[in-house]
């Protein structure tokens, strides 16, 4: 009898034991499978993201890298007293004079109607004429002497030299004629035209001539605007966050403010542009299309992000630090400024720099406040008209000349480099300051 009891016990126990094991094993299998699946999704997602990013970068770099190389012409120019009236140096036709001199040097004969020199002029650059006039204006004694001038070659010629205008296209469909191609080849073999790194892109401001157009004005404009943005958004944003997080009573009003700040962070940027147009330009009469207005508008746009980032990094500081400071008789302000804020600094800086990088790339609100005008010179102050990098990209992309499109991609690369530098700075600052914790 005891035997049967025991065997029945063993029977009832044994399957239970096996069941538990197999159940666990079964579930384990399912769990491993789920884990593998999830990992596979993750890897897939990253692959897709990297692929798109790669395509984007490839397109931009592919289109833009040629703009970092350009061709320029160097030639001796005889400031011919027969053609330049010393009393009226502005009145002379320098382009014609230089073109004829280059043609003579290259052995190209002028026809009786002057069409050949007209065509030849197209592959040189009007900048040569400006340079000659400038040299003469600086030093009138140069009249009758020979000077050496260098200037970027016409944009179409540059494109041809870079192999972007092919002979295979029907002559009527391209901007350069067969005859001009022959001349250009000749100029290159004679050593007058040379390819080199396109420094003009960084030393020139915007121009109607693509070969002369550079980003200096836009870079300066962006820098000024970013300074205005930072000068407004950082102190106001950090101050507001400090007050809300550390000092303000937690009541209905502060809750309402918090909700509104979070909502503001999601408002489309163009709305800020409309606000800027209505308030700063039309009502306060600030100068249109100036870095000042742009900076103020972008500061408004960056504020919610700065406040949110600052608040969350303040919240991440352990309360025990506040208690420690208060416990030995520090005032609330001392506790915040001596202990909490320094500890929150890496997070605040990261958030701030990233929101500034966003502001740097922002276009829509700037279009609303009229920052779309052609600005040929450098902005003198934050109140003068200026162009900024993203808007410059927008303007160039809408230009009709092909050479501008090449420069659009180059400008995008420059903008991307600035952003990468800023984000890198954010990471480095974070690393540096976190180590002190």
């Amino acid at each position: 009898m005891t035997d049967t009891v025991q065997s029945s016990l063993a029977e009832t126990r044994a399957p239970a034991k096996v069941d538990l094991k197999t159940a666990v094993a079964k579930r384990l299998k399912a769990r491993h499978a789920a884990e593998m699946r999830f990992r596979a999704y993750g890897v897939l997602a990253i692959c897709v993201a990297v692929l798109f990013l790669g395509i984007l970068l490839e397109r931009i770099v592919h289109q833009g890298y040629t703009a970092f190389v350009t061709h320029s012409i160097t030639t001796e120019v005889y400031l011919d007293p027969n053609r330049i009236d010393p009393t009226d140096i502005m009145g002379a036709n320098y382009d014609q004079m230089i073109t004829e001199q280059v043609m003579a040097k290259m052995g190209v004969a002028e026809d009786e109607y002057g069409t050949t020199s007209g065509e030849y002029k197209e592959i040189l650059s009007p900048d040569l004429g400006f340079k000659a006039l400038e040299a003469l204006r600086d030093d009138p004694k140069l009249l009758g002497k020979k000077i050496s001038l260098t200037s970027p070659i016409a944009a179409n010629a540059d494109l041809y030299y870079k192999g972007e205008i092919s002979r295979d296209i029907v002559e009527a469909d391209r901007n350069v004629s067969d005859q001009q191609m022959v001349w250009m080849d000749d100029l290159k073999t004679k050593g007058l035209v040379k390819g080199h790194f396109n420094t003009y892109l960084f030393t020139n401001t915007d121009s109607t001539q693509p070969e002369l157009a550079g980003l200096l004005g836009a870079i300066m404009g962006s820098a000024m605007m970013l300074l205005v943005t930072a000068a407004l958004a950082i102190p106001i944003g950090v101050g507001a966050a400090l007050f809300l997080e550390e000092f303000a009573p937690k009541n209905r009003w502060t809750a309402l403010i918090e909700v509104n700040i979070n909502n503001l962070a999601a408002v489309p940027s163009i709305v800020y542009g409309l606000l800027g147009l209505a308030v700063f330009i039309n009502w306060l009469g600030m100068p249109r299309s100036s870095p000042l207005v742009g900076g103020v508008v972008l500061a408004l746009m960056a504020l919610p992000t700065v406040i949110i980032a600052t608040r969350s990094s303040l919240r991440a500081v352990p309360p025990s630090i506040r208690e420690a400071a208060l416990g030995i008789g520090a005032s609330k302000t001392q506790a915040v400024f001596h202990h909490v804020l320094p500890l929150a600094m890496p997070g605040i800086m990261t958030g701030t720099i990233i929101s500034l990088a966003h502001a740097l790339g922002e276009t829509a609100p700037l279009l609303m406040i009229g920052m779309i005008s052609f600005v040929p010179g450098l902005p003198e102050s934050v109140t003068s008209a200026a162009s900024v990098l993203p808007v410059q990209i927008f303007i160039w992309e809408n230009a009709s000349e092909r050479a501008f499109h090449e420069r659009t991609a180059a400008a995008i690369i420059v903008l991307l480099v600035f952003m990468i530098v800023m984000n890198l700075a954010a990471i480095l600052l974070r690393r540096r300051f976190e180590r002190r914790w």
Partner: protein, 279 residues
């Protein structure tokens, strides 16, 4: 059955037997006089009218089950409850005869007089030197670097940490061991020159050796300061304190000489608690 009997932890028999003549007068004057102290957190009442006198130059231990309001009452003594928006404190607490909840009393000054050591060691993420020097700095207690060095050194010595850290004063305070950190925050509290030191479970995260060091330290500090300590260890309360107060569900059940509380409790609840029947 009594789990904790006298010989096990032998409370300090020097109670009432002054170590130096100046103690005779001070030991009998209460540093704190609390009457009908009630604390609410929002709608929830945490303390139901506490009446207690806390003597100067002696150690008073608060014991009681978790959540009974020991920390809450301790935080009333230096108005740390002010920092909790939902907390409301009623009743009077006199510090040297002065109501510390009076509007005229600046909590900043009060907290300089009544220092606090928290349950979890919380050194600032700065150097050891800066940790100790912070209090004297903000209160302007040192006029020169030499004076500050002196304050830092003597505070660390009082906290019996000096020998371990004298050669690395300019290293991070957070890099010390838990027990060293706890002594560092005690040194930080001492450096301000307080009259009272409140300690909320200062040894709860420490090993027996570090605990023993801190207990020794408390015993030494008692000669200069009024010390209030919250502890969950009966043995510790018996070892370091002269007075013991037993809290239960927001009430002060019993307070008296530590010896009496542990050997001859008047209330059944105290008896049950110290013998381990609940809590």
């Amino acid at each position: 059955m009594k789990l904790y009997t006298r010989p096990l932890y032998a409370p300090d028999t020097s109670i009432g037997k002054p170590r130096d003549p100046s103690m005779t007068t001070t030991a009998t004057t209460p540093k704190f006089v609390a009457r009908d102290v009630k604390v609410h957190y929002g709608d929830k009442q945490a303390l139901h009218g506490i009446d207690i006198d806390i003597l100067d130059k002696s150690v008073t231990a608060f014991i009681g089950p978790s959540g009974c309001g020991k920390s809450t009452f301790l935080r009333c003594l230096n108005r740390m409850n002010d920092t909790i928006p939902s907390a409301r404190v009623d009743g009077t607490i006199l510090l040297d005869g002065e109501d510390l909840n009076d509007r005229k009393v600046d909590p900043v000054v009060l907290r300089a007089r009544v220092g606090m050591v928290f349950q979890k060691p919380n050194p600032f993420p700065k150097t050891i030197y800066e940790n100790v020097a912070y209090g004297p700095k903000i209160h302007g207690l040192a006029t020169s670097k030499e004076e500050m060095d002196h304050i830092v050194e003597s505070s660390l010595k009082k906290a019996s940490l000096w020998n371990e850290v004298s050669d690395r004063l300019h290293q991070q305070g957070t890099g010390l061991s838990g027990g060293q950190q706890q002594r560092l925050v005690i040194a930080r509290a001492i450096a301000v020159g307080p009259e009272v030191i409140l300690m909320d479970e200062p040894c709860s995260a420490l090993d027996p050796i570090a605990t023993a060091k801190i207990e020794e330290l408390i015993d030494e500090l008692r000669q200069q300061f009024c010390i209030v300590i919250v502890t969950h260890s009966m043995a510790q309360a018996a070892r370091v304190s002269q007075k013991t107060a037993f809290f239960h569900l927001g009430n002060l059940v019993e307070v008296g000489n530590t010896e009496d509380i542990f050997t001859n409790p008047k209330d059944q609840r105290t008896q049950d608690y110290i013998t381990g029947r609940f809590g």
